[in-house]
Assembly symmetry: C2
Homo-oligomer: 153 residues x 2
DNA sequence: TTTTTGGTTCTTCTTTTACAGAACAAACAA
DNA sequence: TTGTTTGTTCTGTAAAAGAAGAACCAAAAA
């Protein structure tokens, strides 16, 4: 398959987006390539060629993506190549995990509040306020997912 | 002020938490120090001493935190020191921005869907499903914040 | 005026990241 | 058997990150 300019551009944009989330550049671009690839799956060689990187870099990136359960591969009879693709099936739980994770700061806030003597200060009130919201948020997220499921299926 | 073991531990934990979000180590620890500090505000020197880092590192970290509007300082009459503290007042909009930002991937998903020929494939269906959820999510987040405000105030 | 305080900027150093390239290995093919 | 395909692992390295230390500067104090 040959990539159009538009596709190459999308790969870069998706790559940068994932870089901002702390993933290494190549990892984000592999995700981009898998998303735009017409077969929705790519071989090891295709990654090497389309992204112009070394085999070792690709091997490490794929190992990482599989460890994080973002990618799997399957094989085809009479073909030794692996066909790597995104585990898009899990987007729901992945996204939920991500949301709950950013709310993890609540645990630290509560611990900090425990250690503070000025419980009724404006500072503590604001922290408590935020902590309460995060608690609320963590309870509401699963409900939000449920509502979506019912509404759209 | 002298920090207890518990407080030092909290600073480290809060530091690591922020490192995972892509902030540089010292920045996360400064946030931790400001959270546990009994005055809820720290001077430049206190940061240098409590965290055992150089003045230049502290200067750069504080510049960064102020640019990101996470920190401000005020001064006291007859005292040349700056008292730096967290801008905790904005937690609500900050957190909302963070949530909407992680939903930004939807934009790319829609663009990818545009370029794909296999619109009715399982792959595209799942992407569209995710994209729909993200749209739903982005609309619901502000509502969630509103509900919290009413419920707890 | 000179000195001190509080902080910034510039240069340098160390460590880590992200990748390249070559050697290697396992499975299959000839 | 020998060679080929499909990756993996090991070693090296350029570049960037993160911070140290010294020089520097502006405002206030002496």
């Amino acid at each position: 398959m040959v990539l159009s300019e538009k596709q190459k551009e999308l790969i870069e944009m998706i790559g940068v987006f994932h870089e901002h989330k702390g993933l290494q550049p190549l990892v984000g671009r592999i995700i981009g390539l898998m998303l735009v690839h017409e077969d929705a799956e790519v071989t090891f060689d295709e990654i090497v060629e389309h992204l112009g990187v070394s085999k070792s870099a690709v091997s490490n990136a794929l190992t990482f993506l599989q460890a994080k359960e973002r990618v799997t591969y399957h094989t085809k009879p009479g073909d030794r190549k692996r066909y790597f693709s995104l585990k898009l099936g899990d987007w729901r739980s992945d996204f939920e995990k991500e949301l709950l994770n950013i709310a993890e700061i609540q645990r630290f806030l509560e611990e900090v509040l425990d250690t503070r003597k000025d419980k009724s200060s404006e500072f503590c009130t604001k922290m408590k306020d935020f902590s309460n919201f995060l608690e609320f948020f963590r309870k509401e997220i699963p409900i939000l997912f449920e509502r979506f499921k019912k509404q759209y299926h």
